[in-house]
Symmetry: C2
Subunit: 443 residues, 2 copies
Amino acid sequence: MNKETLAIIGGGDAGMTTASWARRRKPHMNIIVFEKTNLISHAPCGLPYFIEGLFDDEKLLSAYTPEEFEKERNVNIRINHEIIELDLDNRVIYAKNRNNNDIIKLEYDYLAIATGSKPKKIKYDNESRIFYVHHPSLAREVKEKIMNLNNVAIIGGGILGVELAEALVRNGKNVLLIHKNAYLLNKMLDNDMASYINNYVSKDIKLKLNEEVLEITDGGRVIITNNGKYEVDGTIVSIGVEPNTELINDKNMIGETKAIKTDEYMRTSYKDVYAVGDVAESTNIITGMPDWQPFAPVAGKMGFTAGNHIGGVNYRFPGLIGTAITKYGEYFIAKTGLTENEAKKYGFKTISTIIRSNTRARYYPGGKEIIIKLIADENTQKLIGAQIIGQEEVLGRIDLLALAIMKSNTLYDLFYLEHAYMPAISRSWDPVILAARSLLTKF
Amino acid sequence: MNKETLAIIGGGDAGMTTASWARRRKPHMNIIVFEKTNLISHAPCGLPYFIEGLFDDEKLLSAYTPEEFEKERNVNIRINHEIIELDLDNRVIYAKNRNNNDIIKLEYDYLAIATGSKPKKIKYDNESRIFYVHHPSLAREVKEKIMNLNNVAIIGGGILGVELAEALVRNGKNVLLIHKNAYLLNKMLDNDMASYINNYVSKDIKLKLNEEVLEITDGGRVIITNNGKYEVDGTIVSIGVEPNTELINDKNMIGETKAIKTDEYMRTSYKDVYAVGDVAESTNIITGMPDWQPFAPVAGKMGFTAGNHIGGVNYRFPGLIGTAITKYGEYFIAKTGLTENEAKKYGFKTISTIIRSNTRARYYPGGKEIIIKLIADENTQKLIGAQIIGQEEVLGRIDLLALAIMKSNTLYDLFYLEHAYMPAISRSWDPVILAARSLLTKF
């Protein structure tokens, strides 16, 4: 009997996790990963901190070198290989070695598409001083170019834009941030929560909200918006990412989020073909609608699911709710589930509250303000969204609220959580519990 | 029609929360709180930090003064009043004013017993240099006496003993900690987790484990154990607390934990008589057995439940799982659910793992080690216990695990939590997720 072959396109988190778990379940399978760049298991989330200068070794942006992974997991890794054709009907892929232009033809039994996402672009003629911060393989080059500038425009005030703004401010740059929405981080926060962040960020940077970029000229040195014209030394574009589905010819595979539709085992509409990570669409647990969350924890669990399924072990991927965390200065900013805005668009009748509290007992030194917004469905009393801004213990609290949402917990369930308390790091009425109580007792 | 009367015995967290919610639900009820000391809504959890000197205003140990509470909530508060007789059959209590010895007789419609807990004592003749750290009303007096000593023994290595050890070490005292168990914090941790703490604490203090105190003589200056004789300047006894049920004559009210049995609305076996807080027993959600957890968050939610029920609004108290957090030095130490030791005693077939990881991405500065133990029921794959030791983001993670246990979540549920990730405060494979994965994939 011939050995089965698993081909994986893309060596990011999702692809490498698929490889790891398929290997663990099927020790004798052929597993081949094709990666376009020279890095695998790379972490784009670290780029703002590399640019900020918090560490200088860009190798740290990869969890493994290709050699380490090949040796530890017995997986064949082809870096610098680009897929030039994907023939799903005949189960064949063609890859080009970017070093020597050799073409490899590979017949597979299983295929995992893990091509990730790519930055959305703005059109312009000359891009000599226009930058995208997306792939660790270009980390040093982009950093050096940006650090040569003094006045930098950032287009887009989402997570990446805000993180880059901080990185540049800490390096003494003058930052102009242009955002088309009325407030920063509008996919994470409702306006009531975002106002705290807008005020805080405005102290460091020049913030232009509600402005749409019409044109970038002079190689990135002139930006024309619907409200003004700005001259800078260069421009970073961070207006979001989109699924990288260039290889997909069959448009029936693509869902309404523009990513590849998958089922609970990360299978696409082609037999034995899986999609994982930023290129994969799943279902939102709260709305039941297609959803797309291009974040590393999702990618890892999708890879785990696909790798195990290919290996004959079935774990169902439960779907998405949308959890994210970022920071600016001293503040962590986190969300899970739907914003109230989104929830209303999906037809929920929402009830919400904002609690301003503190992270420590009133008498314990060093306590920090923490602001928590909870959003519930008025019909079911289930939690459907949460937002937190605070300086400590934001991460664990947002994860707690994410679990509550994923498991359809109600305000009652959340209020009666037997939470931990000690004066040095919490309150006997934890802010989460206070927020839950505030909503629960409105019914 | 006469107004209904609610009498509450004890002005701690549980009693005052009962008063607040009964008032909110029944604006015209008579509500009278009898409190033996001169403080209400006091926070004994703050005592180690008051002794350490982290704050100097002992008024901060109370959330409200009696005057504030009376004014804000329209509740009649009788401080310095001791109950001398409780006649449950005839719905009458007799209280003595400790200032002038006047006796008040009060007939009630509803009664909430919130008499709290009291420290367990060791017998000795002369207690001139033996101290208990329990009630905020004695905070300054105890602090001054202890601070006059140089060599201090602490008997008991539970939460309070460990917190006091740190408070004294930070004040330059030589601390001898005598603990009868083989390791510190043995109600929170299994031996495998406690060993990290034992080693760390031993650097600062003289630790005597597996030693039972036989006698304390010379007013607290000589301690004789089964293994030695120690001479110190004074002794703090912190060997635990027990429910304060002195007023209860009907032993049928008392459960096997020695606290007052309650149902899901905090009702005792007497009609319209409730027990809340450290004096109340409830049911463990994991084992179904009677349980007692004398911690402030539990007390508050019991008070909420009783106050609402008296006020005609029904929220069921869901029972207990046992969540706690403490700290020593840089380390927070937390647990929820059963220890593996306990779980085995209750007949569970356990499966467990310990993950040592870090709180931040490998390239982000300032990451701290975090150690997580998860314990699951091998038969159901449900999480039944968790322990964490770490320097940041311990609180939220233990609360997350507490929610998972309370809601009977499985390892699958926990692994697939869509957790938040950013390099500055987490890992794309969060340590909690790694621990869940480690157990999930053993099946």
